[in-house]
């Protein structure tokens, strides 16, 4: 921990030995308050340098200001989201706060945490072309860069597809392609690797490393590849007076982050017919995925009582679609789903499945729509016919367990991690038999994820989790099912 004077001294020393691309000096920032309470500083008097030609990983727990930092670096805040900023952010000779974001196009590029916020063109190819057309490049150069990134990020089949139709990981790949085509001096990646599968993580990180790019990766949890490809490691240290950033090595960063693989207590599962909770047979479903038809085909899959089942597979392998079939949001073209009804299994209707299975969407914003936390939590309870006083008590319990704070808070201005916790709290109160967590681990810390999983596991009969993190799947589940191209490729029971 350094005082601002010490920080200045360290920066001076650092500048003597290292070539840096950006310098952040005595940064203090807070958002405007939307309630009667005074808003707290997100950062207070923090200083650090970003080195040139290296991959820098900056860890930070959820709500520590990672996204705010990215947007401050790109000159998007306070311009678009308000707030009070003091201190300097300089990129070479340029003072960021004196620039419009468009003037920084070739200097700094970001991939936002939520791809929905960043994609705006009707076809993928135009998404890549948009910034290139603003760079005063020759047509040959634009064409050449377009082809290069389309090829590298394997987007050939999606060239004329609507970006909104892509899966979460494919959207991230498209955004990386946009950034790569522009090739700014500093790349800022806000939790970009979380929704990408392992092959893409490695391919992109290796390429960035080999090309000697200046990269800042913001991460709320550690993945193996960061150790291999990261050159500098820092952490956002939470403080009441405002958060602080230190680049003090990987070990220190991981220690401060305090984020280790969760140890989840899993009950014993009896893989016997009489313990089956849900049974899918002969499922077939075809849908238009971008420009081609995509077929989900599941011969047989059974979910057992007390089981935590992990679905693992590359982006666009059909994991989310399978789960939407399972919870009654999509009707399969063929096949049936049976659920346990007392001693017997019976074929489930769409309404049966909706009442049987809860589903936490990948993007919490599609599932949170009421003005306050309290309203969100109360909706389902009112529907279940629970008395107001009883409902209030349950809401208090859920807000405490999921650490949601004031029930009067509007979810719209809460952090991504907190919105995910609220999403989980809603299903905690709804008492479903099965709960599906669709990449709930992205954008939140491992211990937060473990907490959500523990709480939901104690409430429902079985959990299905979708993840791109094999270590997490191995640590948290009884069985892992690997999917590819809409089919089950491999099934593995873990010894518990």
């Amino acid at each position: 921990m350094f005082s601002s004077r010490q920080n200045g001294y360290n920066l001076l020393l650092f500048e003597l030995y290292m070539e840096h691309i950006a310098a952040i000096n005595n940064l203090t920032f807070k958002y405007h308050s939307y309630t009667s309470k005074q808003s707290a500083n997100i950062f207070s008097d923090t200083s650090f340098l970003l080195e040139k030609g290296v991959i820098q990983i900056l860890y930070g727990r959820p709500e520590s200001g990672k996204t705010t930092l990215c947007r401050l670096l790109a000159g998007l805040i306070p311009m678009y989201q308000g707030g009070t900023l003091s201190g300097d952010i300089t990129l070479g000779e340029i003072q960021i706060r004196e620039q419009h974001a468009f003037q920084l196009l070739s200097k700094i590029g970001i991939v936002f945490q939520d791809p929905e916020e960043q994609l705006f063109m009707p076809v993928c190819e135009d998404e890549i072309l948009f910034p290139l057309e603003h760079l005063e490049l020759s047509h040959e150069e634009i064409g050449s860069r377009l082809e290069q990134v389309i090829d590298f990020y394997d987007l050939q089949q999606y060239r004329t597809s609507n970006p909104a139709n892509l899966s979460g990981g494919e959207k991230k790949r498209l955004l990386m392609a946009v950034l790569d085509a522009v090739d700014p001096e500093l790349w800022v990646l806000d939790e970009t690797f979380e929704e990408l599968d392992i092959n893409w993580r490695e391919k992109i990180l290796r390429s960035l490393k080999e090309r000697g790019k200046s990269v800042l990766i913001l991460a709320s949890k550690d993945i193996d590849l960061y150790e291999t490809y990261g050159d500098r490691f820092g952490v956002i240290i939470k403080r009441d007076s405002g958060n602080h950033i230190e680049f003090s090595g990987r070990e220190h960063a991981i220690e401060v982050l305090g984020d280790t693989l969760p140890s989840i207590e899993l009950s014993e599962v009896l893989y016997a017919h009489e313990r089956a909770l849900c049974n899918m047979t002969g499922l077939q479903f075809t849908y238009k995925h971008s420009n081609h038809d995509f077929l989900i085909s599941i011969d047989a899959l059974t979910l057992y009582d007390q089981e935590v089942l992990a679905l693992y597979g590359p982006n666009g392998s059909g994991k989310s679609t399978l789960c939407k079939i399972l919870c009654g949001l999509i009707s399969p073209n063929e096949g049936k789903i049976s659920i346990r009804d007392g001693e017997k299994m019976r074929v489930a209707s769409e309404n049966d499945l909706l009442r049987h299975t809860g589903y936490l969407f990948q993007n919490p914003d599609f599932q949170i729509f009421l003005p306050t936390i309290g309203d969100e939590l109360k909706l389902g309870l009112t529907r279940m016919g629970i008395q107001s006083s009883e409902a209030d008590q349950r809401i208090r319990e859920a807000t405490d367990l999921f650490d949601l704070g004031d029930v009067e808070q509007p979810p719209a201005i809460m952090s991504y991690g907190k919105r995910k916790r609220l999403q989980a709290a809603v299903y905690y109160l709804l008492e479903r038999k099965v709960c599906i967590l669709d990449e709930t681990d992205s954008g939140i810390s491992l211990d937060d994820y473990a907490k959500i999983l523990e709480l939901l596991k104690g409430r429902v009969d079985a959990v299905i989790l979708i993840t791109h993190d094999m270590r997490l799947a191995e640590a948290c589940s009884h069985r892992i099912i690997e999917m590819k191209d809409g089919e089950i490729q491999k099934e593995r029971r873990l010894c518990r």
Binding site: F102, P131, N165, N351
Partner: protein, 245 residues
């Protein structure tokens, strides 16, 4: 989420040059508003329904009518009291016109890729900012439609059932929470979209390069033929009313 009206296909409408197609669209828009009488408007609608059936899945033939039926009912109920002379004839004509416009746009969007529409607008030298606004509208209107369905799904999951609502006012009432959520989502999108646009270079005062205008749509022979066909179609339709009169 499937968020575009465009349907892959190989019909004549799919293969027709979008530049000629957009001119035909404008011609028919004007044509539908001209006072040609019930027979002509009825014939135009019938032709559009047939075109719709042969261009994409015939089972979607009546989807434009299904989408606008509440408005058609309102037109049918509210128009007659305002006219003393031939209220029924005027109402039918309005219904035919309104339905024809819906079919016309549906046919256009179902058979033309969004990227081609934008290229076409740029080819017609539409100012960059105007083309961008149309691009955004083409991207975000269906996108918000997709968000509507996602939020509807979230409501269904939360409520634990997909209710069958038969009464009209109940249907309207059930729409309110979903529409409110979509509106909140749309409003939240505004600053994010502005950020994203500016971050990708929008606002730079210099002229932008337009790669795709130069790269695509160069097939002059096809354009000439299709423009010619469009003119013939337009002439036939202009002359036809005089046969009926």
């Amino acid at each position: 989420m499937q968020m575009t009206l465009f349907q892959q296909g190989n019909s004549i409408f799919h293969r027709f040059d979008p530049r000629a197609k957009i001119l035909l669209l404008l011609f028919f828009l004007v044509y539908i508003f001209l006072p040609f009488g019930l027979i002509v408007h009825g014939t135009v609608l019938l032709l559009l329904i047939i075109a719709s059936a042969v261009s994409t899945d015939w089972r979607d033939m009546f989807s434009p009518i299904i989408a606008i039926w509440p408005i058609l009912i309102l037109i049918a109920l509210l128009t007659p009291p305002f006219y003393r002379e031939d209220p029924i004839g005027i109402t039918i004509e309005l219904l035919l016109r309104f339905t024809s416009i819906s079919y016309l746009f549906t046919l256009f969007f179902k058979t033309t890729e969004m990227s081609m529409i934008i290229l076409t607008l740029r080819w017609f030298r539409l100012p960059y900012n105007a083309a961008l606004v149309i691009t955004m509208a083409l991207r975000f209107i269906p996108y918000l439609g997709g968000v509507y369905h996602q939020i509807q799904d979230a409501h269904k999951l939360r409520m634990g059932s997909a209710e069958k609502i038969n009464r009209f006012y109940q249907k309207i009432r059930s729409l309110i929470p979903v529409l409110t959520s979509v509106m909140i989502y749309a409003i939240k999108t505004i600053p994010e979209l502005s950020m994203s646009l500016e971050h990708r270079g929008f606002g730079i005062p210099r002229k932008t390069s337009r790669l795709r205008v130069y790269k695509s749509l160069k097939n002059g022979h096809k354009l000439f033929t299709h423009m010619g066909i469009s003119v013939i179609i337009a002439v036939i339709f202009i002359l036809t009313p005089s046969i009926f009169n």
